[in-house]
């Protein structure tokens, strides 16, 4: 597909990186700053145009007329909207705009249709949604959903005293009497797609596939708490904090926000009457202890300084047994951050980029392949793909035992009209099903690709 990305900030670059690595899109990036454009062109296989993305000349030079998708992710909401409007009028492409000002929240719904926007994304809102989802299921490090939300891939860490320690995967079904499938294991820096002989160890990070109810059942059996958190402390009352608090309050969670700026505190108090707003320095450990950090079931560090967030979370980790979530905006040293034992980290810009990339893929799939959803799991080392099975697929109407799959592939789940089947050897895939495949191999476009 032909894709034009306006704005080469972190989100724009991330999108360019992900999409160019797929090698099937023609990508052009636009930015006012020539140095940034040069950097992107040197790093990824894309074309660069220097100029204002909202100007027709520049857009035409970038080939908007033939483009399929236009993504506007500059720092300014207004430019993004204008860019999409112009792109839509001249090219008739699908447009995606990043609109982040909360003032525009209501307006978006009004103008989304008029401007012909295919997708509007608010990074802060998206990040808040992600955090809220994790707080509903605090044992998981990462949650990805498939089959329109019916199936989840959950990642969690095995504690030292867990029943899972030293258990063989083939024995798991019998011992736990529970129908979940382990689709990936990370041990240290390695990632595996485990077979039946695989023996689990403490500190392994397990990714399991199952429906929502089965997940809860499974966690109960292995003795991990599955209830959503009852209260939370949020440090930093910025936009993400606000969106998050709003969502959590709706679901009955007690929210405490610690914010330094008095004026902002007053604003927050007006829009979030049910939250406890505390005007103080979140990095003051006495204040944190006083506000009940030790008893709190969850702690979310959302200040604007990454280093501060990391330190806060490490401190919280040492004092509390609750779920800890850390926002990281700029720092890109993933390996170091992973080694810090921070539980879950959230990178709003990455999430924004991921959502947009997912949308692009879905659009691409609608006319080129039959992938429904795709998530990167196991720290990006594996892909979880949801395929729709067409009529006459070579894979359908055969039991799984009869299929010879390539190495490093697991058929994780079959969704038959909403009924979720954890596949065993005797199960059969039928046309009309969607099937989730987890693999460390790359570039699969069709379910046939998994066959030897």
């Amino acid at each position: 597909m032909k894709i034009v990305i306006v704005g080469c900030g972190k989100v724009g670059q991330k999108i360019a990186e992900s999409l160019s690595s797929e090698n099937e899109h023609d990508i052009t990036v636009i930015d006012l700053r020539s140095t940034v454009v040069n950097d992107v062109v040197n790093a990824y296989d894309v074309m660069g145009v220097v100029g204002n993305g909202a100007s027709l000349d520049v857009l035409e030079q970038a080939g908007v007329k033939e483009a399929d998708i236009l993504i506007a992710v500059t720092g300014s909401d207004e430019i993004n909207l204008l860019t999409c409007l112009i792109g839509r009028k001249t090219g008739g492409c699908k447009t995606i705009a990043r609109v982040r000002k909360p003032e525009y929240n209501k307006e978006i719904e009004l103008f989304k249709e008029d401007l012909g926007l295919a997708m509007v994304i608010n990074p802060e809102q998206t990040a808040a949604n992600e955090i809220a989802r994790l707080l509903r299921f605090p044992s998981a490090i990462q949650i990805d959903t498939f089959a329109k939300g019916r199936v989840e891939i959950l990642k969690f860490k095995i504690c030292k005293d867990s029943v899972l320690c030293d258990m063989k995967l083939s024995d798991m079904g019998a011992k736990l009497k529970c129908d979940v499938l382990v689709c990936g294991v990370e041990r240290g820096d390695d990632a595996f797609i485990p077979g039946g002989d695989f023996v689990l160890r403490a500190e392994d990070r397990l990714s399991i596939v199952a429906s929502l109810e089965k997940c809860s059942e499974f966690f109960k059996k292995i003795g991990i708490k599955t209830n959503k958190v009852k209260d939370t402390i949020i440090v930093g009352g910025g936009e993400i904090g606000f969106y998050l608090a709003k969502q959590l309050i709706k679901t009955g969670v007690n929210v405490k926000i610690i914010e330094q700026d008095t004026a902002r505190c007053e604003e927050l108090f007006e829009v979030l009457p049910k939250a406890t707003i505390i005007n103080g320095d979140g990095t003051d450990n006495r204040l944190l202890m006083e506000e009940g950090l030790e008893q709190s079931e969850s702690f979310v560090a959302l200040t604007n300084i990454d280093e501060e967030n990391i330190l806060l979370s490490l401190f919280a980790k040492s004092k509390s047994k609750g779920k800890i979530i850390t926002k990281i905006n700029r720092i890109t040293f993933d390996e170091v951050i992973n080694s810090l034992n921070l539980d879950t980290t959230i990178q709003p810009k990455d999430i924004t980029a991921e959502y947009i990339v997912r949308f692009v893929r879905a659009t691409n799939n609608s006319f080129e392949s039959n992938i429904e959803t795709m998530h990167l799991i196991l720290e990006g080392k594996a892909e979880a793909l949801e395929f729709r099975i067409g009529d006459n697929s070579p894979i359908s109407e055969k039991t799984l035992e009869e299929l010879t799959l390539k190495d490093n592939i697991i058929i994780a789940c079959i969704n038959r009209n909403g009924q979720i089947i954890t596949p065993r050897g005797k199960d059969m895939i039928k046309s009309g099903d969607t099937v989730i495949v987890v693999t460390t191999n790359r570039g699969y476009k069709d379910i046939e690709d998994i066959l030897e």
Binding site: K2, S20, D26, I27, V41, N42, A43, Y44, D45, M47
Partner: protein, 478 residues
Amino acid sequence: MNYRLIIYTLGWVLSFEAVCMILPMVCGFIYGEKEALIFASCILICLIIGRLFISFSPKNKVMYSKEGFVSVALSWLFISIFGALPFIFSGAIPNIFDAFFETVSGFTTTGASVLSNVEILPKSIIFWRSFSHWIGGMGVIVLLVAVLPLSGGGNFHMIKAESTGPSVSKLVPKVKQTALILYGIYVVMTITQIVILLFCNMNLFEALTTTFGTAGTGGFGIRNDSFTGFSDSAQITVTIFMILFGIDFSVYYFIFVKRMFKTGVTSEAKTYLGIIIATIALISYNCRGMYESIWENLKHTAFQVGSIITTTGYTTADYNLWPEFSKAILVLLMIIGACAGSTGGGIKVSRIMILLKSIVKEIKIAAHPKSVHKLTMNGRTLQHETVRAVNVYMMAYLIIFAFSVIIISRDGYDFTTNFTGVLATLNNIGPGLGTVGPTGNFGMYSNLSKFVLSMGMLAGRLELFPLLVLFSPYTWKK
């Protein structure tokens, strides 16, 4: 420095050279020459060493700027060294320095020769000499990127290092696609010229070798009198194609593929064509009375002007005998060179345009110190980096030029010969004036001079910086 990645790239370059040598080998078999076996053995050598190098498969395949420059510079050195093997093994050019000079001259599309008698050479050797022009014209790395599954945007560093002109940009988003388009245009134009030449009473061998020399703007003659002996129609065809190959290839892409006529890439091409027309007029007026008819005069002038400005170096007349005014204009054309993004060499018309515009800007600023001026090209403002790079390029060019002249002056030839000799090699033209003029060659120089001139040709083809980066200690510091 990612050594494995560089060695790996070199491996592909050598394998690619092996593939290229198949053609002269076939040519040798057709003419029943024993050199065919020499080419076969050279192919084997390139393949074995290439395979060995490829086995250094790097863990990290990301190409950074530094690796890009070094890979390109080393690729050209290697392809020249291995390309010289057939000359040495066949005994056509037994001296190693001579053979290296001749090969570099081929790949850099210079066309300067050390040979005084070409016609006694085996056909396959002549073919290889001319074919190297064609390979070097559009670039080795460009072709490798087009056909090999090298992935990632990092390859653009190599394309940038190999391509000519002050600022290199892509035609389409993908490097690979861009490389394919460039080679597509190149191949189509090459085939067109071959077909036309076949209609001009040339045999296939002559048509092929001549076209290779024209397409790459190389200029190795297949006869001792260069192009004088061929028919008028062939001479006119070559004149036109030389000028066409000297135009930025993206102009063809935008006009013929995208059908965009107001593309804003044409101002360089227009200036280039303007220079050609103006100099043809000036020289033919200056040379009036030297030829039998106006037609003869125009034909020779146009051929020589086209040949020199595109840095091809074919000749149909000995311009050593022309009036001084005409010779001075030719030397100017030698310095200017063809358009950026073409197969031609020289400083490039666009650089000259940027330099002239900078001068005008300085004059304006001198008059109104507070006035604001930006350099524009094709209606767009030029990036400061581009202008800076042009200025630095010019300075580096002059320094390299001066040093080369000084070194080869030790051999004791006259100044005109030395000066235009360096000019002809550094700008990838071929023949200069004086002893290295259209009827002479570079054979009389010492080995040291030949080596300096060979490096000059490489530096000129790669536009100085890849070689400077390769030999700079900063690059290799840990």
